[in-house]
């Protein structure tokens, strides 16, 4: 890797300002409980889905919650064009996500989408995806796209303990899947950045999403090893489509809008 290459890579983060945004009712197809507080929601569009890129997110309306006022942003976990569905990978945090966890087959869910930019997709490279917590959400769809572009894909998930190591088979479809657990009950013990694979293998690209401390550790590893690295950031969002300017991320070029100029950022642009 050299800097020239890195620069090219930077421009790969395409601003998708030209993709038409929609507000539509979806139908809940199924809710899969993954463990105590994580679940996957498959929702079916009533019209054919538009093109959706890995790293993009949706903003969902939570009905029937006394305490939820704004929509809730959620990464797009997977898109199945055959079934015309989007999958969301959700962690129950407060009343909004709890109410989403009570949706059942046939319920309707109002969604604004597709929002945000996307992860870059290199070709024929050795790629590493690092996820933690509900930050794993966008990685599955990313893995699929990376594989389709001829990349070698390794997904490394950091979780607390065995019961949180979920959906491993899904990732396996697109490459190698590795796990670290904090309590050592599964995979290697420790945090993802302590996994032995990082010493054994040399990656060309790193993509990460998860708790900020984890992403910062991954960014540090990437910077040290001169590997281009993209992170997906969260922020406080009111609209999700560039209207409110509430979701500012500080970058080397000044304040950027996380919901339209992100959520995916190259670590070189961040003031980390």
């Amino acid at each position: 890797m050299n800097y020239l290459c890195l620069d090219l890579f930077l421009t790969d983060i395409i601003l998708l300002g030209t993709m038409k945004k929609l507000v539509q009712d979806f139908e809940v197809l199924q809710r899969k409980e993954l463990n105590d507080d994580h679940f996957v929601l498959d929702v079916k569009a009533l019209e054919p889905l538009p093109e959706i890129r890995p790293g993009q997110f949706v903003n969902v309306l939570v009905k029937d919650s006394n305490t939820t006022f704004l929509r809730r942003p959620l990464s797009i976990h997977f898109v199945d064009y055959e079934r015309n569905t989007i999958s969301l990978y959700i962690k129950k945090i407060g009343d909004g996500t709890k109410k989403l966890g009570e949706l059942k087959e046939g319920d309707s869910l109002n969604i604004v989408y597709p929002l945000g930019n996307q992860y870059s997709i290199p070709n024929n490279a050795n790629t590493l995806l690092v996820g933690g917590g509900c930050g794993v959400a966008p990685l599955l769809y990313l893995a699929k796209h990376l594989k389709e572009a001829g990349n070698n894909v390794t997904t490394l998930l950091g979780v607390r303990s065995e019961k949180d190591a979920v959906e491993l088979d899904a990732y396996k479809e697109y490459g190698n899947i590795l796990v670290t657990t904090e309590d050592g009950s599964f995979g290697e013990k420790g945090y993802p950045t302590q996994h032995s694979i990082l010493e054994k293998e040399k990656f060309d690209y790193v993509f990460t999403c998860g708790p900020e401390p984890m992403m910062k550790a991954v960014a540090a590893y990437s910077a040290q090893n001169n590997i281009p690295c993209e992170v997906s950031l969260e922020n406080t969002m009111a609209c999700g489509f560039g209207a409110c300017l509430c979701c500012v991320t500080e970058t080397t070029e000044g304040n950027k809008c996380t919901c339209t100029e992100g959520p995916v950022f190259n670590i070189n642009d961040l003031k980390w």
Binding site: F69, V112, T236, V248, N255
Partner: protein, 304 residues
């Protein structure tokens, strides 16, 4: 066919539904969702004399039936607006109003003067009420003397419709309204956000980088309605009512309280199509109640 058209003095709106500044971008952000030509008018982002980076993260916190923001007037400055943005949006078949903000009177004046030259901008909304900027901003809107002085100065350079946006963070909003009316404001819009604050009990930190911020959404609707009604009984210029409007029923309430037109802010975030729906809903309400002309509803609240 019912008549939805209203007039803010010389400014004709095809219907009373406008958007609130800072919640509707430059209109472009909503082109995927609605047809802007169905609206009475759009208020574009708060524009200042010079580029402003706004406040640091975090800028937003959800509150019961509302939200706090501390955007802090992030914008690229009026020159950028005139050069880059205006050409992009001037073709919209609706009234485009620019929300003008500042820290010192000269800034307001210079910004207003530049916008005065833009053919397709029939009006500005003078924001003397933003709680999210350190100097000036809200301070102008919280005393009669300073409100009057900024309106007076801008009035001298701005020849089209001058709307003044009032702050609700005052003891008596009618006094400020009368002061700006006396200096030649063509209309007043109210309310801007209520100054509020939110804390994360777990981290013991404020939820906004600026500690306090502006409260908007349905939570403030009762206060906004009250102020519109008070100002309606105090001034003779038209009133544009806003604060927590989520649907046509809310819009009708503001009109009954005395608003000639209304603005929709926070609701755009929750339903980006809400403005069009409110236009349709007002029309339905009028048909159901056999009201031929929306103007018959303005201030038509029945007090026994």
């Amino acid at each position: 066919m019912v008549n939805l058209g209203v007039k803010l003095k010389d400014l004709s709106l095809k219907n009373p539904v406008m958007t609130a500044s800072g919640t509707f971008g430059f209109g472009e952000e909503f082109e995927d969702f609605i047809d802007l030509s169905n609206l009475g008018g759009i208020l574009v982002k708060g524009t200042t004399r010079h580029h402003r980076e706004g406040n640091p993260y975090p800028r937003m916190a959800e509150t019961p039936s509302g939200m706090l923001n501390a955007v802090g007037l992030q914008n690229k400055g009026v020159e950028n607006f005139c050069k880059d943005i205006y050409p992009r949006i001037k073709h919209y078949d609706t009234n485009i109003l620019v929300n003008v903000s500042g820290s010192v009177i000269e800034d307001y004046v210079e910004t207003a003067a530049m916008i005065n030259e833009l053919e397709h901008i029939p009006a500005i909304e003078l924001n003397i009420s933003c709680p999210n900027v350190k100097e000036g901003g809200m301070a102008f809107g919280t005393s009669c003397a300073s409100a009057a002085s900024v309106v007076k100065a801008v009035r001298e350079v701005y020849k089209k419709h001058l709307m003044v946006k009032l702050s609700p963070n005052v003891t008596d909003i009618t006094e400020i309204a009368k002061a700006v009316e006396a200096e030649g404001a063509d209309s007043v819009s109210l309310i801007n956000t209520l100054l509020g604050m939110a804390i994360d009990a777990e981290t013991r930190k404020p939820l906004l980088s600026t500690v306090t911020g502006g409260l908007s959404g349905p939570a403030v609707k009762p206060v906004a309605l009250r102020m519109v009604w008070q100002v309606f009984n105090a001034v003779n210029i038209p009133i544009v009512g806003l604060g927590g409007i989520m649907n046509a029923k809310d819009a009708i309430e503001f009109i009954l309280a005395g608003a000639t037109a209304i603005q929709i802010g926070t609701a755009n975030f929750i339903d980006p199509q809400v403005t069009e729906k409110v236009v349709v809903g007002i029309e339905e309400y009028m048909k159901r109640h056999n009201v031929q002309d929306i103007n018959d509803l303005i201030g038509a609240l029945q007090i026994q």
